[in-house]
């Protein structure tokens, strides 16, 4: 009785477009989150008490609050802030932050808070003798940092950062709540047209699963590269 359905009842292209937005959101948030994570880790290990306290407050607050709430706070908070600033200049009305930008900001904040802890742990795991040896060989502090410390930090931090990326990838779905047309919202739109929630959410699930599998393979390649020459030490 049923006609052979086109790919996902004709919504295949929509889901594909959503998948691209999801991937872009994850990539941009990864970049922003890594920067925040490096800054956070540096601040946590700083000699200045104020920086240490601020970084600690940031990581504790963000890690203790639901990611969905962070997305909502950034989106509505920033929109309200823009509105207030605009009101100062005599412009009134409702201002809306671009949901993609709000999503990148919120997910970067979350990723950065966890990444700061991972990176700090990785820094502390490099024996101090490594830096001392580099100095005694006549390397400048900058060279010792880039050529001796950083590769070892990277190797230790990679599994933790990889896990955080897999979490980030799934958290992108939360940005659908503030109206970004990523995979989850495209699926919900298809559902509201077709009244067929099950196949579309299953399709979305398997697309996320595919992205997770691809990311895991990529992380493994990076880990193997980072461990070059270390195979013998297990």
């Amino acid at each position: 009785m049923n006609e052979p359905p086109a790919l996902l009842l004709g919504f295949g292209a929509q889901l594909a477009a959503g998948t691209l937005v999801t991937a872009g959101l994850a990539g941009a948030s990864l970049a922003g989150g890594l920067l925040l994570g490096i800054a956070g880790a540096a601040a946590r290990m700083s000699h200045r008490r104020l920086l240490r306290t601020a970084a600690r407050a940031y990581t504790t607050a963000v890690r203790g609050v639901p990611e969905l709430l962070v997305v909502l706070i950034v989106y509505f908070g920033a929109s309200a802030a823009i509105g207030r600033v605009a009101a100062l200049f005599g412009v009134t009305g409702f201002f809306e932050l671009n949901p993609f930008l709000a999503g990148v900001a919120a997910l970067s904040l979350t990723f950065g808070a966890y990444a700061a802890e991972v990176l700090r742990g990785a820094f502390l795991a490099v024996p101090p003798g490594q830096t001392e040896a580099a100095y005694s060989l006549g390397l400048t502090p900058a060279r010792a940092f880039c050529h001796v410390l950083l590769p070892q930090v990277w190797r230790t931090a990679l599994p933790g950062l990889g896990n955080l990326f897999l979490v980030l990838l799934k958290d992108t779905s939360l940005v659908s709540v503030v109206g970004l047309d990523e995979l989850m919202r495209k699926s919900a739109l298809a559902v509201s047209y077709t009244q067929q929630p099950f196949p579309f959410y299953v399709a979305a699930a398997f697309i996320y699963l595919g992205m997770t599998a691809v990311s895991m393979a990529g992380i493994q390649v990076l880990e193997r590269r980072a461990a070059r020459g270390m195979e013998w030490s297990g």
């Binding site: 700090r120 929630p197 959410y201 997770t212």
Partner: protein, 244 residues
């Protein structure tokens, strides 16, 4: 004007606290059911038989590889699509957002908790298992009396993290109409337009709940610690993984 504002403040605080209570309920019930399901899953994952390992691996891969939001939508909206579900005896349960949230959360946390238990099982020193075998323990006795008790103690810090993740994940209940802490904050904001204020207040309550969980897990760990077994507090390991 003042009295009106105060009235709103008192009323909305009461509503937020009611939301927090629902959040605690959802988290606690999901952890209870999820942990119960996690033990058989972990045993299957570590089984010697491939036909037991494979389905458990698939389960864990699916629930850890897809967003919780998809899972909750599949249970709440997806299942309702089928007439057989709507006509079944289970409909009084599957038609309720409350139970759908608990089912989705339980299935999700079971996958993560199973991996945590498995990690604890693999960390049990080989010698202890050898010793159990040398004493003539059966395979089940070895698992039940030696491996699992050790694994549970070993896995406690990671389990504490999972409770916190579930608490935070429970905010997704607000996407299927439930008035948990996040849901209440969202409705208050729709009514008052005080977005920053109410979301910050809700965030503060989540933070307090998180700190309570951290405290609780630490107390439990101290109680279960064996004499002579040091409690590590090195950052990045064990406690460092809970909120540092």
């Amino acid at each position: 004007m003042m009295a009106g504002l105060q009235g709103i403040a008192v009323e909305s605080t009461a509503q937020l606290l009611a939301g927090a209570w629902l959040t605690v309920q959802l988290t606690a019930l999901a952890m209870l059911a999820g942990t119960t399901l996690a033990f058989p899953l972990a045993l299957m994952r570590t089984s010697r038989h491939g036909w037991l390992r494979a389905p458990a691996y698939g389960y864990v891969f699916f629930f850890r590889g897809t967003p919780l939001l998809v899972q909750i939508f599949l249970v709440y909206y997806g299942l309702a699509q089928f007439e057989t579900v709507r006509d079944s005896l289970l409909w009084p349960v599957l038609g309720e957002a409350y139970w759908c949230a608990i089912i989705a959360f339980s299935l999700n946390t079971a996958a993560y908790t199973a991996e945590i238990i498995r990690g604890g099982m693999l960390a049990v020193p080989r010698g202890e298992r050898d010793a159990a075998q040398a004493l003539g323990f059966s395979h089940w006795q070895e698992i039940r009396l030696i491996v699992l008790p050790r694994a549970v103690r070993q896995a406690l810090p990671a389990y504490g993290n999972e409770v916190i993740l579930m608490l935070k994940g429970s905010a997704l209940a607000s996407t299927i109409t439930l008035l948990d802490l996040t849901g209440v904050a969202r409705t208050l904001i729709a009514r008052t337009y005080l977005a920053v204020e109410f979301f910050a207040l809700a965030g503060l309550i989540y933070l307090l709940l998180t700190l309570l969980i951290v405290r609780g897990v630490r107390a439990l760990e101290r109680r279960w610690a064996r004499p002579g077994q040091a409690i590590e507090t090195v950052p990045g390991t064990r406690h460092g993984d809970l909120l540092a």
